[in-house]
């Protein structure tokens, strides 16, 4: 064998080893990753009277997380993500109201499947497009779903929705209470499961491929990566997770109306995610929490003017922290030299 071939074989396997090591290292937990979970649990003890609000924040975190998969990792910009949230919300709502099916956990699975299915079908057709075209197509899809719901408002309840939904106690034991304690922990638990699932995906070779698509789709095509297939897969998963968020929304509110499909919803979650920082997994946590806490604070302070405040925060955020709050932390973090392993 020629010397160059031996060397190249060796260096090839070395490169493979390094690549594998890199991927494995990413899967390992860093200490600072426990922070958001500690905060979430701390909130339970420090603010026991804000649990209803807390549950809504967690639902939004999950929703934003699902958007991060497609927006942050795959680079797909969509204005219709509320469609999947709405499908999940209505699956649970209709099951409880029309079919009398009110077991919460199975409701989550049903919502994930329903939303994922719609995500798969629409994704397969729509993900061939990009830019403004995709924005308008996804937006139109969400609105068409909403209009269909209104057309058959005898089933959906229209904008007055499905009232008075009741759900069986969790595992037959834990019931909903006025203070929302049970549901906060329930949503948190589901969020933990969903989050680690997403984390697994993102740090896997599949996740790498997604980043590749986001950064340079032409090259991905050139190396033979099944781009469309990958995109549809991640879109389906994101849709399913958004569906779970929607289902939790209905369960925690015991009520759902067609407004879950509103363009407002899609826009709000996108703003939350960008505020926190896309493509960073925890951006969803930071962004959703910051946005909802600010909204809550401003609307109590001066109900008429929180809109101005949020607008101002957005403008300042874009001008001074373009990579979101987490990007800001990263920039600060760069000041501290990284500890290298010997």
């Amino acid at each position: 064998m020629a010397a160059s071939e031996t060397i190249s074989t060796a260096s090839r396997s070395e490169a493979r080893e390094r690549a594998a090591e890199y991927l494995i290292k990413r899967h390992r937990f860093r200490l600072r990753e426990t922070l958001p979970w500690l905060v979430a649990i701390a909130v339970y003890f420090v603010f026991p009277e804000r649990m209803t609000f807390g549950s809504q924040v967690l639902v939004m975190v999950m929703f934003a997380l699902s958007l991060d998969l497609i927006l942050g990792y795959a680079g797909i910009v969509t204005l219709g993500h509320a469609a999947f949230f709405g499908i999940g919300a209505y699956t649970v709502g209709l099951a409880a109201a029309r079919l009398g099916w009110s077991e919460p956990i199975s409701g989550l699975f049903a919502a994930a499947i329903a939303a994922g299915l719609v995500g798969f079908i629409t994704g397969w057709f729509l993900l061939r497009y990009r830019g403004l075209t995709l924005l308008m197509l996804t937006l139109a899809t969400a609105i068409l779903l909403q209009e269909t719901g209104n057309l058959r408002s005898d089933i959906s309840g229209g904008y007055d929705g499905l009232p008075g939904l009741t759900f069986k106690p969790l595992f037959g034991v834990f019931d909903y209470d006025l203070y929302g304690h049970t549901y906060y922990l329930y949503v948190l638990a589901v969020l933990v499961v969903v989050f680690f699932f997403v984390r697994r995906i993102v740090y896997s070779p599949f996740g790498q491929a997604l980043t590749g698509v986001r950064e340079n789709v032409r090259r991905m095509h050139a190396i033979g990566s099944p781009v469309h297939g990958r995109l549809v897969t991640v879109y389906t998963i994101a849709a399913a997770i958004a569906g779970v968020a929607g289902a939790l929304f209905t369960q925690t509110n015991a009520y759902v109306t067609l407004t879950v499909f509103d363009f407002d919803n899609s826009a709000k979650v996108m703003v939350m995610l960008i505020l926190g920082g896309t493509g960073r997994l925890y951006g969803a946590f930071v962004g959703a929490t910051v946005y909802m806490v600010l909204e809550d604070y401003f609307s109590k302070l001066s109900p008429t003017f929180w809109q101005f405040g949020i607008g101002l925060v957005l403008v300042l955020a874009v001008l001074f922290t373009p990579r979101g709050v987490l990007g800001l932390f990263e920039s600060i973090g760069k000041f501290f030299p990284e500890r290298k392993k010997p």
Binding site: S153, Y159, D160, P163, G164, T166, G180, N253, T259, K300
Partner: protein
């Protein structure tokens, strides 16, 4: 001697004022203060503030503490969070406000569980009061206006046939269903029902109205959410010359909100509506309200049916506080005290029905005219007294549950 005198006075004071221990009643006000519907919230809020200011001494020595929160958009979610926290954190004894039906609907299970009375100042879906025994309503249901309008339109306005056009959301469907029931019962015939898009955006009404105009019914019954839609309706109606073409415009009073009537111009003259309030209503309480309103908010500001409902809501709450001597911690007691409450208000005699906890009030058939001073106003054509919510009387659909 002096010492005993002092004691004597103390004893006297004790005897006289002993039972009237001053209570502070915490009331949570949930209204939309931001977003597209903020003007609706403000109309009611202004009425609340005005009533409280003018009548604070009525419940002395007790005091009212108002905590206001933003109802948010008509999705129900924000209202539910906000009101739940009013109950659990701020410990309000009573909730009031609620412009949107979804807010009240979402909250019903919560007030039942917490046993806190919810006194609705606007939300109009008929079956809301059935959702919880702690709900009382001082405003209206769609059926209050629409059902009597049906009979009136047939017999007094000369409508033998009518087309219905409505904004495509539950109040629109309710209102047209109510009108149809009343109209057809009286002998009329409804030719078609045209949905006109969602309540969020004001649509271009022209194509819908053109279609009705071409079909030439005697009358067109229109339901739209009060506000910007009303002006759009009147503009389209006028531009298409529908009155000249022989199609009369009828509807609930949402068609001619008082604070927009002046802008509607000549196109509005001749419109016949059925409602529970108009600025021009001729009774002592209304005159007093208008005077106080102009003094407080300027001569260009007018109360409307929402303000009148807000006024009566606060009146009912105040009377209940007086009746229970400031002790309003037992929700069941409060609701029971409200049942059967009746008083004269700017809308005439209003009563809270003991059975349904919904409002019983007069409905006035009114026609838009140009008054002697040049402004647009209404003339009362007829009064149907003590109208109940017919949906619950007939037990139709959800109203029967």
């Amino acid at each position: 001697m002096r010492k005993f005198g002092w004691l004597g006075i103390a004893a006297l004071a004790f005897a006289v004022g002993g039972t009237a221990q001053a209570e502070t009643v915490k009331i949570g006000v949930v209204l939309p203060f931001s977003g597209a519907n903020a003007d609706l919230g403000h109309q009611i809020d202004k009425a609340f503030d005005l009533y409280i200011k003018l009548h604070a001494k009525d419940i002395a020595p007790h005091k009212i503490e108002i905590i206001k929160r933003d109802e948010g958009p008509p999705t129900g979610a924000q209202a539910k969070t906000v009101a739940t926290e009013l109950i659990t954190n701020d410990k309000v004894q009573l909730l009031t406000g609620f412009v949107f039906s979804p807010s009240a609907i979402a909250l019903a299970p919560v007030v039942t569980q917490a046993k806190v009375p919810m006194v609705i100042a606007n939300a109009g879906t008929a079956w809301i009061t059935n959702l919880s025994p702690y709900i009382a309503r001082l405003s209206f249901s769609m059926w209050h206006h629409a059902y009597p309008m049906g009979a009136f339109a047939f017999s007094k306005v000369g409508c033998k046939t009518a087309a219905m056009a409505y904004t495509d959301f539950p109040p629109g469907k309710d209102s047209t269903e109510a009108f149809k029931t009343g109209f057809e019962k009286a002998g009329g015939k409804v030719t078609e029902a045209i949905p006109m898009g969602s309540p969020v955006q004001v649509p271009d009404f022209t194509p819908f109205f053109q279609r009705v105009k071409d079909a030439k019914p005697d009358c067109m019954y229109v339901f739209i959410p009060s506000g910007a839609h009303a002006t759009g309706v009147m503009k389209a109606y006028g531009e298409l010359g529908m009155r000249k073409a022989g199609v009369k415009l009828i509807g609930p009073m949402d068609l001619i909100p008082d604070n927009k009537l002046q802008d509607m111009g000549d196109a509005a003259i001749g419109t016949v509506v059925m409602g529970n309030y108009a600025v021009d209503l001729d009774n002592a309480e209304n005159k007093a309200l208008n005077k106080a309103w102009h003094e407080a908010y300027g001569k260009d500001s007018y109360p409307d049916f929402m303000s009148a409902a807000g006024w009566d809501t606060m009146h009912a709450i105040f009377d209940t506080i007086k009746k229970l001597n400031g002790k309003v911690t037992d929700g069941q007691q409060v609701i029971d005290a409200m049942k059967g409450w009746t008083a004269k208000g700017p809308r005439g005699q209003v009563t809270i029905d003991a059975g349904t906890r919904d409002i019983v009030q007069n409905e006035y058939a009114m026609e838009v005219i140009r008054k002697a001073d040049g402004k647009l106003g209404v003339k009362v054509l007829g009064t149907t007294p003590s109208v109940k919510d017919e949906c619950k009387v007939l037990k139709l659909g959800r109203c029967g549950s």
